[in-house]
């Protein structure tokens, strides 16, 4: 009887694994994505319900209470978190996932102790807890930076790298020792503590502009921690789901690094975004300001306009205003497209989600490689809150700190209008020669109100 239930449970987990895989497969196209997610949700529900019949469970109070609290918190987040806050929300969920993995590992350890476990299980458990702990605090710091609770600029001090190296060595040392020596529970718990500390130290030196990479990496760690949990518990669905999550994060971090032409080590330890004064200062000249009226006329009589959004679009919450202007232009017969840089915003795909929220059809959203050949035939490129991703220095100046980073080549358009709050620099602290080019005109002011006013003006032209 008992084994019968167990086989049924294993079978349920198999079905759940298949549904998860189909779910992710659905994400290969926007048309099939929602259906795919329904499958994944069904798989999750089956796995949870099946687990309720697990023979090891003898009391339901804590499970029920936990499920209810978690569901309420999760549902509230799902309903209330604005799209502009998606990066923070995602960082927080990495922290939650990793924390759950770490707690399960620690709980297993308190239940069985190191002595009764085979060496391999001790290793997987230690790995799970170590990775879980550092991802928890690392993600919390990332979420804090994105939310603005913690300063987004890199926090750096003398001897930081040495201290981090020592912390890392200590953590790994405790991990290895607790695997080799089953009775060394003190070392195990020291490792947990060092893991939490190392997570903080790992993320505080990283600037907000590098968050797409950090987010992807933390995503990968959280997934791998869950996969390690699967090894400890001998549970395949955990291994599969965790591995899918881990690889998704890994692939995304590689893509993000490529889009910035930097290595992962450089992102983690480079402290990019600390004020860089030297390289860009010589790019001075005249910035030409343009009035709302002139900008509206230029847009209204264009035949092709490309919008290039950046993180400033999110901070100004200007996605609906962009759409408003685009609508006004399209009604006049202007072709409107959007050029999206892979690292625009604070997480992979951030800009796409914001524009989709404003009802921009995804057929108008173009990737960098698709839109770059189109700039020479573009009458007006409108840069909304983007800076480094349109900085021509990345292409032209080999001494620039961002040299080699692929950019959206808006400077090849017939004219460029840059919407900017003031004359300050971007997050990287770099001067942007685009702003001084003859084709470029600056439109100062809050992006949201500028765009709304432009939409009005265009309608009146």
């Amino acid at each position: 009887m008992e084994t019968g239930v167990n086989y049924l449970l294993e079978f349920t987990y198999l079905v759940a694994s298949i549904l998860f895989i189909l779910g992710i497969k659905g994400l290969s196209h926007p048309e099939t994505a929602r259906r795919g997610m329904f499958l994944a949700e069904a798989g999750m529900a089956a796995a949870i319900i099946g687990t309720l019949f697990h023979r090891g469970i003898i009391t339901y109070e804590w499970i029920a209470a936990g499920l209810i609290i978690g569901s309420i918190v999760g549902a509230l987040m799902a309903i209330w978190v604005p799209m502009t806050a998606m990066p923070q929300r995602t960082a927080l969920s990495h922290a939650f996932g990793a924390f759950a993995a770490a707690l399960v590992g620690i709980a297993e350890y308190t239940l069985h102790g190191g002595l009764s476990m085979p060496g391999f299980t001790r290793g997987a458990l230690g790995f799970e807890v170590m990775l879980g702990a550092l991802t928890t605090t690392g993600s919390l710091i990332a979420a804090g930076k994105l939310q603005g609770v913690i300063r987004g600029t890199p926090v750096q001090f003398k001897g930081q790298q040495v201290l981090n190296l020592l912390l890392f060595a200590g953590m790994v040392g405790c991990f290895v020792y607790s695997v080799v020596n089953p009775a060394a529970s003190l070392y195990f718990y020291t490792m947990v503590g060092l893991g939490f500390l190392f997570g903080i130290m790992l993320v505080i030196p990283i600037g907000s502009a590098d968050m797409p990479v950090v987010m992807s990496l933390l995503n990968s760690y959280a997934g791998l921690a869950a996969a390690a949990t699967g090894f400890v518990l001998g549970n395949n669905v955990l291994i599969i789901a965790g591995t899918l999550d881990g690889f998704s994060g890994l692939i995304l971090s590689i893509l993000m690094c490529k889009a910035m032409n930097r290595s992962i080590t450089n992102v983690l330890f480079g402290g990019f975004g600390a004020i860089i004064h030297a390289a860009g200062l010589d790019a001075v000249g005249e910035m030409r300001e343009i009035s709302l009226d002139d900008a509206a006329v230029r847009l209204a009589y264009a035949s092709k306009v490309v919008f290039v959004p950046g993180y400033g679009l999110a901070t100004a919450q200007a996605q609906h205003a962009v759409r408003e202007l685009a609508n006004a232009l399209e009604e006049r017969g202007v072709t409107v497209k959007y050029g999206i840089h892979p690292v625009a915003g604070r997480m992979p795909g951030h800009m796409n989600v914001l524009l989709a929220e404003a009802n921009v059809p995804y057929g108008e959203l173009y990737e960098m490689e698709q839109i770059n050949p189109e700039f020479p035939s573009t009458d007006v490129a409108v840069v909304v809150g983007a800076n480094d991703v349109v900085n021509p220095d990345a292409r032209d100046n080999p001494d620039s700190p961002i040299a080699g980073m692929p950019i959206l080549e808006v400077d090849k358009a017939k004219s460029v209008i840059v919407l900017k709050r003031g004359q300050g620099r971007g997050f990287s602290g770099l001067e942007n020669p685009l702003f001084f080019k003859p084709v470029t005109s600056m439109l100062y002011g809050d992006a949201k109100s500028s765009l709304s006013q432009l939409a009005q003006e265009v309608k009146n032209v």
Binding site: I24, W62, G66, I69, G70, M86, T110, I240, N352, A356
Partner: protein, 120 residues
């Protein structure tokens, strides 16, 4: 915990390696357009660690009186409490993750609402 069976270990490793290959193939095909929903979807899916948390949270009878008295809390109680917290965070991820993913995916539309029809 019983000593690990080499066959089980090999099976686990096989699953891991195959899942890694499959994951690479599947995720390479997700367009950048959907990278944010991808991240939140895989996150929700890895909330499957909820099932591990549930087993730990439900494994032992909890002596509430001892817990309330703040007296000697037996070892299983610590595990139960850790499991309980893990159930909360994992369930938050599952419900919040799937909820937000769906909210995002609903917004991705091929055609705009209304606009074209009106101008015709």
């Amino acid at each position: 915990m019983e000593a690990i069976n080499p066959a089980v270990l090999i099976a686990s490793l096989s699953v891991f390696v195959l899942a890694a290959f499959l994951g690479y193939q599947l995720i390479s095909r997700v367009p950048p357009l959907l990278h944010t929903p991808l991240m939140s979807a895989t996150n929700a899916i890895s909330g499957i660690s909820l099932i591990g948390s549930m087993v730990i949270a439900g494994m032992h009878k909890v002596d509430f009186h001892a817990l309330m008295a703040g007296g000697a809390v037996a070892k299983p109680s610590i595990a139960t409490l850790l499991g309980f917290v893990a159930v909360i965070t994992a369930a938050t991820n599952v419900v919040g993750g799937f909820g937000i993913t769906d909210r995002m995916l609903k917004m991705f539309q091929q055609r705009k609402k209304g606009v074209k029809g009106e101008s015709k």
